[in-house]
Symmetry: C2
Subunit: 350 residues, 2 copies
């Protein structure tokens, strides 16, 4: 197979971890006779520094014209504590999601056997947990009109949703539930928000097409609690953009480290693969960042193009790295291995 992949290393530890993902893909390409062509481009704080624009035109064009996008991480603290910054790295990511129409972000959550002890949760709580979060990614408060009055004393964010936006991701989520344990939990705040009530209504309607899937509803406050009390109750979780942002980071504790979780964002035509962790600027250049989430993002990319066997070789390699404790310090505080070594281990295993 021939794939052209846009690579956006981004900020902080992004470039280091993405390098390992590329190494894994190269190795897969050699062994299984695929050609992966990588084209790098700027996005995020690095793009602002070099061009003034967090998503340069060139980057966007590249992404629109490749088979897939592989993203590192975005964000720099110099923008976070400056409420007056007019241009911010995250704008690049949000614009990319919007322009590529990546309306569904999908995050699988499942603890690794060998890492069960490194979760803050007790073994009996997480052992056997296995669910997927479907987060709507191009709507809600992320993209609604924002205002700040002239005096800078009053601000607003508008959260909006349409039936169409809800319907398309709901179908994806129900289809996924059909292939899994046939349970879908819609998370919202329908006792307070109008948009949540629309979600409930539309999802109920979509559910009629999937009579074999059991649908239930949880308020987001309760869901945030249930994720920790009893994560095994979940199969597929469906929710809006901001709730999905919060819940999927929270759910990462189940796996023992956010450094282990990849996600895929899907649109009608495009697909973007990334680790769910942030740019972790404190670790930049120190060879301590966990590359596993990025390598797993590459594996999700392979699966997306039907290269299931190849993806599984990567999963296997990562399981071995974990088993042999070739892992970074987030998983083993006294580990002697760094980003590079973990990446090398994985690509050598392939």
């Amino acid at each position: 197979m021939n794939l052209k992949i846009a690579v956006l290393p981004g900020d902080g530890i992004g470039p280091e971890v993405i390098l390992q993902a590329k190494k894994a893909l190269y190795a897969i390409g050699e062994v299984y006779n695929h050609e992966f062509v990588f084209e790098e481009a700027l996005m995020g704080a690095v793009a602002i520094d070099k061009t003034g624009n967090p998503l340069p035109e060139q980057t966007l064009n590249l992404c629109l014209n490749t088979d897939a996008v592989l993203l590192g991480a975005i964000g720099d603290p110099k923008y976070d504590n400056n409420p007056n910054a007019k241009v911010r790295p995250e704008q690049g990511l949000l614009k990319l999601r919007k322009e590529l129409g990546l309306f569904a972000n999908i995050r699988p959550i499942k603890p690794y056997k060998a890492l069960i002890e490194s979760s803050p949760l007790k073994r009996e709580i997480i052992e056997g947990a296995d669910f997927t979060i479907f987060r709507e990614l191009t709507g809600g408060a992320y993209f609604g009109t924002k205002t700040l009055n002239e005096e800078g004393t009053h601000a607003s964010d508008l959260c909006e949703y349409s039936e169409e936006e809800i319907t398309r991701i709901a179908h994806l989520a129900f289809k996924s539930a059909q292939k899994r344990r046939k349970k879908l939990t819609m998370v919202d705040k329908a006792n307070v928000l109008e948009t949540s009530r629309l979600w409930r209504k539309v999802v109920q309607k979509v559910s009629e097409d999937y009579p074999d899937v059991k649908l239930d509803f949880l308020f987001v406050d309760n869901a945030a609690m249930q994720l920790i009390l009893n994560p095994k109750q979940f199969d597929v979780i469906l929710t809006e953009n901001l709730f999905g942002d919060i819940l999927s980071d929270e759910a990462s504790v189940i796996t023992g480290s956010i450094g282990l979780l990849p996600s895929v964002s899907l649109g009608e035509k495009n697909a973007l693969f990334e680790p769910i962790h942030g740019s972790y600027p404190q670790a930049k250049g120190k060879n301590i960042a966990n590359p596993i989430a990025s390598i797993l993002a590459a594996a999700l990319l392979l699966e997306h193009f039907g290269l299931t066997k190849e993806a599984h070789v990567i999963y296997k390699a990562i399981e071995k790295a974990i088993e042999y404790k070739v892992v970074t310090v987030d998983l083993k505080p006294d580990s002697k291995f760094g980003t590079n070594e973990v990446g090398e281990f994985v690509s050598n295993f392939i």
Copy 2:
């Protein structure tokens, strides 16, 4: 002391648990010579059933003219799954918060020694955790304009905040931090939301009045993760309405049961005390609901009026109940004690 207390038992298990809180207050009154006069009124689904209005005029007037409000719980599933219901129990609660000007909801989080094992989190993660969440309660998406178009295919919720709304709760939170470990963590989504950037700016400004308090910032997705990974890092958490709703329910897992957590909501003139759990309709009338959060809400009420000694007697009584395992099934699955027995134990101990 003479106190006139409006009692709103509300829905589901509300009446059962509130009864135990009243018993505890009666006992305190007798032993320490205070007169507590309770006046009951309707709010929530019960109020809709009887009057068509989730917060009848009479209830509101009563609350405006008493020293404090003691609330059970609000909510009924028959409204939750009916996106077309025009009147909902929660509207009563939200209106009450608004009319009483209860802008700050304060939820202390601290595990009970005797219950450490009943948390889904490992002992070493939660032992020693002790923090308080300050949640803004009368602003944000809860109270902004809501729209639904005529065809019912497009909905919106507006999240708004003003400098003034942020300033007043920020002062409360900083003052509390000064009396504690002098650390305040502001939780927001300033990389995406305009209201969050306003929060950050205003809180930074207010912080200048409290140079002894260390201020830091966390994005809400990261905060949802950090609460579980390392809750001991927190002292005072300050956040807006919806984030506070999610995080404080999530944080309840640290204490082992949401049935143990009370909260106080403060305004300039009024104060409302309640358990943080919901109406738990499945348990209604079964004598299995945990009354401890409600009894603790009563203790917070006493503290609020300077009756510290009396409040501590209640804390002691509850510790004993937990120590002797006179607790409901949420804390001890094979427990033979119910709501009533736990309440009796506590009031007899006083």
